[in-house]
Symmetry: C4
């Protein structure tokens, strides 16, 4: 049935066949990014102590900064996938919903982690680390079907694009899953700060590879 429908889709969708999935994705990323500001609560301070209260809540400023960059990096990765696409189909729409759904969760473990490090309790920090590692790992996981599906569907790509560029990308989220799993183990059994360093490394890793990991064969040229 999918095959039949797609042909209808081809036939009817004249101009930009990925316009709506991109619009919905962009809208979602825009809202995720903006909702992060709601995490910065206006301080309820005793009269005359507003300045101190503002200085004290530096962890929420840091959390805002890091989470903002993280969601921005995810948007960039998403952007550079769809740049290569000519059209979408039902399965890709579903995979994309999975990517968006996990990305939309990012503010939640970030906030929990910031709170745990503000309060300073080691047990809480370990629990927050495991939560963050779990959601980070699942977020990475949603990119595996995205890349591997596109590496098999040449007809969704723009003319002249080789599916090889997506095959090479699968190792990006696989690296992510491994490192988030590893950071959860280290954070729980050794020390939470080690995990936080890996988390920050992950954001920079996804940032540096947002346009795709280096290709050995210049398939994309």
């Amino acid at each position: 049935m999918e095959e039949r429908k797609k042909s209808v889709n081809n036939q009817t969708n004249g101009a930009s066949k990925t316009a709506r999935i991109e619009a919905m994705s962009d809208g979602t990323f825009a809202i995720i990014i903006t909702l992060l500001v709601l995490e910065i609560h206006r301080p309820v301070a005793a009269e005359g102590s507003l300045g101190q209260q503002l200085l004290k809540s530096w962890p929420s400023y840091l959390a805002y900064g890091v989470a903002f960059i993280y969601v921005g990096v995810i948007w960039l990765n998403h952007h550079y996938v769809f740049v290569h696409l000519e059209e979408t189909d039902l399965k890709l729409n579903w995979i994309n919903l999975g990517v968006l759904g996990m990305a939309a969760l990012i503010p939640f473990p970030t906030g929990v982690l910031a709170d745990a490090f503000t309060s300073g309790n080691l047990e809480d920090q370990k629990a927050a680390i495991v939560l963050y590692a779990l959601i980070g790992g699942m977020m990475s996981l949603t990119w595996v079907p995205l890349y591997s599906y596109l590496s098999k569907k040449a007809d969704l790509l723009k003319t002249g694009m080789a599916t090889g560029i997506f095959k090479a990308q699968v190792r990006k989220p696989l690296t992510g899953i491994f490192l988030y799993f590893f950071s959860g183990i280290l954070g729980w059994f050794v020390h939470p700060v080690i995990a936080v360093l890996i988390f920050i490394f992950m954001v920079s890793y996804y940032a540096r590879t947002s346009q795709g990991v280096r290709l050995h064969h210049k398939t994309a040229k």
Copy 2:
């Protein structure tokens, strides 16, 4: 007057006549999907008990997952309707607002239902079931005018599209209305869990038929 205006509309709107209604709809779906995360509250836990608190709030994670898939499915259904449209008119804009308005309500009964099952009180669960069934049924109801109006307005469809494809779809929301009504009755008089099973079935039913129910005559080919 409507006839006259539509002719103006035809005349003036050169390129993509459904661009704005799709943009507004995509924006709305993107926000509904993202607002669901706000339902997952950061746990306010006694020091050292964050891990247990996070484990305890599993119903809100489940509610997030199910509601996310549900809204995603509604977006897919909406997407596959508008793929076939060439332009919109005043009545379709109104019908579409109805669809969006009921879809935007989904997070509310989902949260009430999750709360009721966490607290465990049978009377509350029954009340939550009836609320969910009512809103689920009304959400389905808004798709009846959408499909039946389009099945009568060939001039809104893309060239070569037969109105028959929409005529066949009317039975989808009608099935939904009947099953939501039925689940409300069963949930109230027999047991709430039966209704929950039907609710989950409904999400999968709308998911499987998001590209339209199978046609007997290949009118869409």
Copy 3:
């Protein structure tokens, strides 16, 4: 300076010169509409009394319904203005920001009004009526510069469009301003319910005229 810039604008913006202002407006309307759901609070009920609590909060359901239709109607009016536009300029961008800013306020007086009618205190109801009338009147006011500016700028309209269609529309918001002012007076000095009836009439008035008030000369043909 405006003249010079506009010529740059003309020169550089190839395809859709109103794309971004429409995208921003659609995004804003989509968010206003979706934020309305946040007004419906999940009831905090004693165990076993959820059903009664849900029934008691009918005013917030009604407020959601009415405000949703109102914002939808404003979107429709906005839609049918921009359908006729070929491009935008700085002044129109500013006027449009005013329209969006006042529309974004609608949920606030609606909620205050619903609360006042739930609590039942006559003084509070009168205050809420005046607030609603004030914001409704100001919302109407923002449409006066929109219509009157477009009635003087033929070069912003699509080819073949006469500015007369906008000149005729100015009386719509003027009627609105007068009726909101009148409803505030009646609600304060006579009875709040009279004002509520006029408020509902206003939504239906703007709904019926969303595609423009009837023209005497068929300038738009």
Copy 4:
């Protein structure tokens, strides 16, 4: 690597190469603008005193108005930059994320400032002034790389556009950084009201220069 990627980008992106970055930006601005309304809290008043409560919260109405205009002005400035762009690249995407991230913060210091002036404590007002000046200055700072990068990348501009139009704009955010720094100093050591006056001047300055500061050479013609 960037060079290689950009060539792929050029090759694959047929029609509107800035469509997605503009859509994401517009979505973000639309949400920032709409979230401002959430700052106006529905008054929790003793029965019969709603009217007085509504009058008392005039600072939040003012804060809404000013912040709305400010974000609108930032959107206009953003709009008139992208009107001149033919395409985007990785670095511009990053710079743009920085602009959006700082713009999204605006509601936070605005609310803190409004609260401080309502409570009336001079120490708190000074702290709020410094916070506002800091974020205003950083917001201005994000526009320096935007203008200076575009003044060096002629291949991102539309055909016939000279990079000189962007070179001339760099002094706009530089003026902003200087004045926000200056207002922080004056507000802390002299009087907060002086800083507020400079803040209001800044909104009007960015408003008046939203289409670019006057050019000596008519490079943009």
